[in-house]
Symmetry: C3
Subunit: 445 residues, 3 copies
């Protein structure tokens, strides 16, 4: 807007961020495709279908409460909160990108879960007798998981891409994820209940690779918006806490019934608690007067849940979980480089390898192979998608318009754009005086 | 406050908004009445009573886990969050009415659930052997549902009524609701698990009718407060997301055990996801540069959950749910007229009729009849209650004091309490300079 | 920082709040101790261990759904939200202490739950066959409960202590709590499902006693920060509502399976609803124009849940619960003295005694004895810990630095402290004009 006045060369270079036809077209066409594909492929499974009554009798199930719904629904809703409020609000920390953080997170998650139901369905829930994907509560949870990978990737490009690019990222991300997941879980038979490698490693490297391809050398032009303000950091803590609190549900949601879910929840609870203490310790050590940094609190505290994810269901024992969390807090605090939107979660993944070794199981080798697959898909897929996103057709913002909600959102006029001098001592002079001064000014001359 | 200086005629017209005796009187008398009525009528049902042990044996129930509590409690808590955080925060979007949004929502919901337990109890849970209402977890859920109708109505009069008026609205609203619900569910035997017509249609028309009767031609006087600011829109997203995420619980909370609840959750999850994409598409189409509007994101995204509500338990099939959501996003975005507090949810209801026709069931006719009943109760009841609320005894705000927390709340002195004149046009002069200028002014003369 | 300019005597008295070595040292040493102690003492119980399969057969349990996990996990996650979001955000009401409120709450809760698992384990879950503490979901809930006591105490010293002091408070608090709880529940056999006396009375008096010992006569020096602003009060409502909504889970989480949990949830739901109405009534009565006070809404509305806690599982009957809530709203509104951080929850406890008398049970005497034990431990322990915290080694803030996040947190530069010219460009009178004006001034003279 006013940015252009007197800076014509900047204006000339400004990109066209009008997405009025591109965004609706993508949304409509993709949603219609979903409807057609769901019509052809997706049906209820025997626990969500009216056949449940017969199935129950046939399988000698004594009560409706043994429907998988009751084993998993509470965890599912917690995971759902992590995806929409957790990831969404975690990214509100930028001073003027909260609408984009929550809103685009909402958009890509809503598309992603539908596409994930299809992609994961083809690989995991296809009923070969009739060629249909049969869905139940576990599929919904897996779809949410899958989308988590794309949201982690979103963290790496936050504020630097258009919603159309995000939808493209999500389309490819979910596709790559489903194939990667199939190889890791069904070919290699690696265990990954909490999705540490399938979700987090893939998502982080996918996002970083895209971010690397889309590198903007002149991003300094919008550096005044690339930071937080007081209340935006408080909003981000809502996201942090909902992710942190519900991570036990994330890691136990699709674990085995009974002791499996029980143990996964306990292990995650303990690892997360341990991580908080070492994160705080490291954060305080980094600053010369020992002050704590919200960047650490908002991100590294979650590392314990990620790291314990792969093995959450294992007999880690309670102290084993604490140890995982202890080191995660240290490492993840150290690798977060500096204050930037790419700070999100990216650094919280790559110590799942070492810890797996501590699990006394022959799975170790396969787990490592699984990690490699996740890395290859993340990096390779990310570079490819990054190149696609470089095409000048997606409506991405110019360097000087990054991290700014004004580009893609109608933003209300705000109280807060008043000079702070006034803001703090409330003796302000109303407009009329301002006019008077102008008059005065005239009179003088 | 300072509003009066120099505008004596405005002041003369100002209404008496002192509610010091009216509000406490209503709260105390009504709460005491609740206690007496509960004392006379309300008891635990056999699943929440110590007789459960005997009942279990008698009914040959093998485990405590088959107590209805475990089928419904997780959904109940989700619904509870929707009522208090979801609706409460959805309405915080106004720049200076967040206390009223969350606080009055809290008050009327807390009263409403008690009155609803009684009203719904008389109609649905009366034990004719002893004349007592027997309550359990399902009654708590139904009470929350009932209150949802009143909170939707609150959205239509947000910022324009006093808390006493809101309590009166809630008293009548719950009463009308219980009768309407009885007719629809027990006389017409229409299905409405998610309460699309019983709750949402009734609530929306009830609120709109009251709003229409209370029409304020001079509301422009407080238009400077009738809008959002950046952070108030982020707060409103908390409400939106909790409503959106937990809608599967809303629609499945009182569905049949087993596949009923399972299917209702899946259908709602899918309809909601689909709605988000079409809402975003339509929002972008509406603005000439394709920018998205928070008003749409905060409201229309919820339409899918409402629309699928009536039929959530039906064998809609997954693609059927997507289709419902698809059209809801489009229609509800189109009918939201303009930026005003009445934007809330009102427009998200009246397409349940058409979609029911797609459900291959003989219920269709009864569903349509049910919709008519909901409309009659909503409009008729709303007009009556609106006329009651026009009596000049309720402490409602003057036209120039609408949308302002100052009237009913002690508001802290704020960084942000800069005179709105300045707040809105940003040409302000800092204090010190102001003083200097005055000196300067003197020196000149 | 700038506080010192021209006030050298103030500066001389300033304390050393550099916690760079103290905080990390305490975190690391304590976390390592936890790992060692967990390694020696803590194991999974039979329901979270792989032996569950055998245990199930042995005990003739027909389904995995009868694992205690499924009875308690939904309530556990609700309680977890109360601890981290509920208490954390409840304390964000101060204008510049939101980081400390949420962040230190996070830190001490994460440490406290680990220490509580050990302390409570030794008293309640020790398996004498092998000397190990066997943990399952109920232990996690109890650990969260225990920490709630410390967080209530945190409310009484909010803004006036260092994070190191808070960790010390938590260490002693959990220890005292575990002993107190053992005496009340296992020696006196008092009932206290919702922990009204074990948790809330203890926590409140513990915090008040510490606060009394640490009394700061010159606290007026930071009174400009000892208050809320508009948005900080809205953030605090997030905490209030999550505490209020999930209190039925708090009171029912460890109640007996079946009707016990069911009834505890109903009783709490009703008591809380009733409290809201009397709180609003009292709040309105207190102010001469009947305006409502956020302090009351944020705190007194919770009293009903606390008061009904002890007896939540009892056959209070629905109207009994309403009566408890009715009086709690009145009393707790009256005893909140004035606007101060110590406003939190402290006043919501000491009417559990009288109400217990209404419960027709021979337990009455033991309940009263339990209350005395809670008071003795709270007051005695608080005075002792307060004296420990007076040692000048903990990095606590000077009187003029209380309630200020700047001391312990890296706080972002804010719109509110940065010239808007730079921040947004919104046609403010930019710096240059200011300079021009000065030039003008010079020219005149």
């Amino acid at each position: 807007m006013g940015n252009c006045m007197g800076f014509s060369d900047v204006c000339n270079r400004q990109k066209n961020t009008n997405i009025r036809w591109r965004l609706p077209a993508v949304c409509f066409v993709w949603q219609l495709s979903m409807i057609v594909l769901f019509g052809v492929f997706v049906r209820y499974n025997e626990e969500s279908d009216t056949h449940w009554v017969d199935y129950r009798k046939e399988k000698n199930i004594t009560s409706d409460i043994e429907n998988d719904f009751y084993f998993r629904y509470p965890s599912f809703q917690d995971v759902h909160v992590m995806i929409f409020v957790g990831f969404g609000f975690l990214m509100t920390f930028l001073k003027r990108y909260s609408f984009g953080a929550v809103g685009f997170n909402f958009l890509i998650a809503a598309f992603g879960i539908q596409w994930a139901l299809l992609m994961q369905g083809w690989f995991h829930s296809l009923d070969y007798t009739d060629g249909k994907i049969k869905i139940g509560i576990e599929n919904l949870i897996n779809a949410d998981f899958c989308v988590a990978g794309c949201l982690i990737a979103y963290g790496a490009v936050l504020g630097k891409v258009s919603p159309v690019q995000l939808l493209v990222m999500t389309l490819f991300g979910v596709t790559l994820f489903a194939v990667e997941e199939y190889i890791i879980l069904n070919v290699l038979h690696a265990k990954d209940a909490g999705g540490s490698m399938v979700i987090h490693t893939f998502g982080a490297y996918y996002g970083l690779s895209i971010s690397w391809v889309l590198y903007r050398p002149d991003l300094d032009k919008s550096k005044h918006l690339n930071g937080s303000v007081y209340h935006s950091d408080v909003f981000a803590m809502i996201g942090t806490l909902f992710l942190w609190m519900f991570w036990p549900s994330f890691n136990s949601a699709i674990a085995d019934h009974g002791d499996g879910q029980h143990r996964a929840a306990i292990n995650t609870y303990l690892a997360l608690a341990s991580t908080v203490l070492t994160t705080v310790a490291m954060s305080s050590l980094f600053e010369k007067t020992g002050k704590l940094d919200m960047v650490h609190i908002q991100n590294s505290t979650l590392a314990g849940g990620v790291a314990v994810g792969t093995a959450a269901e294992f007999m880690l024992s309670p102290y084993g979980s604490l140890i995982v969390g202890f080191f995660c807090g240290i490492i993840s605090t150290m690798v977060i480089p500096d204050f930037s939107p790419s700070r999100l979660l990216e650094n919280t993944f790559d110590f799942t390898g070492p810890f797996n070794k501590r699990v006394p199981t022959i799975q170790g080798g396969y787990q490592a192979a699984g990690l490699c697959v996740a890395l290859c898909f993340g990096i390779g897929g990310g570079i490819f998608v990054g190149l696609v996103l470089k095409l000048p057709i997606w409506g991405d913002p110019a360097d000087e318009n990054c991290f700014d909600d004004e580009i893609y959102w109608e933003v209300p006029e705000d109280e807060e754009s008043v000079p702070p001098v006034l803001a703090y001592n409330n003796h302000v002079i109303p407009n009329k005086n301002a006019d008077m001064r102008e008059t005065n000014f005239v009179e003088q001359s």
